[in-house]
């Protein structure tokens, strides 16, 4: 089963917690034991799993990426958003999460995030759920 999630990002760099929407897709699938793949088909975006309880964790992740990959740095790509492509490649454009008893096996503090590094944009994610 492959479902779509649509999101709108409001700012230049935005991270959106999509855990609840992914969870609904997993529950609707009725798959007991399986895997869930969350994929974003956009070259300035990324998907990651980390702490969802304290929003400062995401803030620190974004600030560190910005320090390591500054927006302006004499890049060759003339569209001006090279840093967003680089951050996307470092974090990666998907994550895969096991499913047990129809539940996403996220850790206690874990959430699934979409990051857009060159917004605002309307973006789509593909959520694949498979039985194993």
């Amino acid at each position: 089963m492959i479902e779509r999630i649509k999101v709108k990002t409001a700012k230049h760099t935005t991270v959106i917690n999509i855990t609840q929407r992914v969870r609904e897709i997993v529950e609707a699938s009725s798959i007991e034991n399986g895997l869930c793949v969350v994929y974003v088909p956009h070259t300035t975006a990324a998907v990651f799993v980390n702490e969802g309880a304290d929003p400062d964790v995401v803030k620190d992740i974004l600030n560190t990426l910005e320090r390591l990959v500054p927006w302006e740095n004499n890049y060759a790509h003339t569209e001006g958003n090279a840093a967003a492509h680089i951050k996307s490649s470092i974090i990666g454009n998907s994550r895969i999460i096991p499913i047990l008893e129809n539940k996403l096996m996220l850790g206690r503090w874990e959430a699934i995030f979409l990051a857009e590094f060159d917004g605002p944009r309307e973006r789509e994610l593909l959520v694949s759920v498979l039985r194993i």
Copy 2:
């Protein structure tokens, strides 16, 4: 099939070679052609595949991560372990490895590692094996 691996990390930053334990789960599955997903549901941990022959490779990986993401750096997250969350997000919390003839298709020098960036901790991994 989804199995659990429990590990104890002894130091603050620890990398543990879990290849043999993953291999045993794959062999017990009797799956000939498939995929193996190794997932760690903890926000200060990561999973990666790289050279297992020379332990200096892991040392260089850890030292470089520490140089890029220092433990103290005026982070917003007040628990003090922001760097561990950031390293986890950069490396990622899972790896997927093909299975052929019931063997993990790791390269000659490859091993599967759990990294914990904020130990010591007792941690659990989820190893999913699926037929394809």
Copy 3:
């Protein structure tokens, strides 16, 4: 179904667009809805998905990795290629892409790339296609 792709890298650091070869494997599989996993079993190589239209994007990605992980930096690994192992671990050795109606669901600008950070080499990738 697991198929192999062989590539030769010509220079020390090389990125090769393997999208067309992966697409042919997906089409030959006749799988309508599924997932495609592209895995490179070599510890100085990586797989990533990003913009394929402007080659300057890949150039900026490689230059940034080289700035963050310089080739010479008093590494412990005595073979001299520690930086290649570290870059491989940061980018990761696989990517997973959804398949719908027998098509790779890459975004409009997306391509699948093999990166070799310590060539020239002859390398092999494993492309797994599974029905979901």
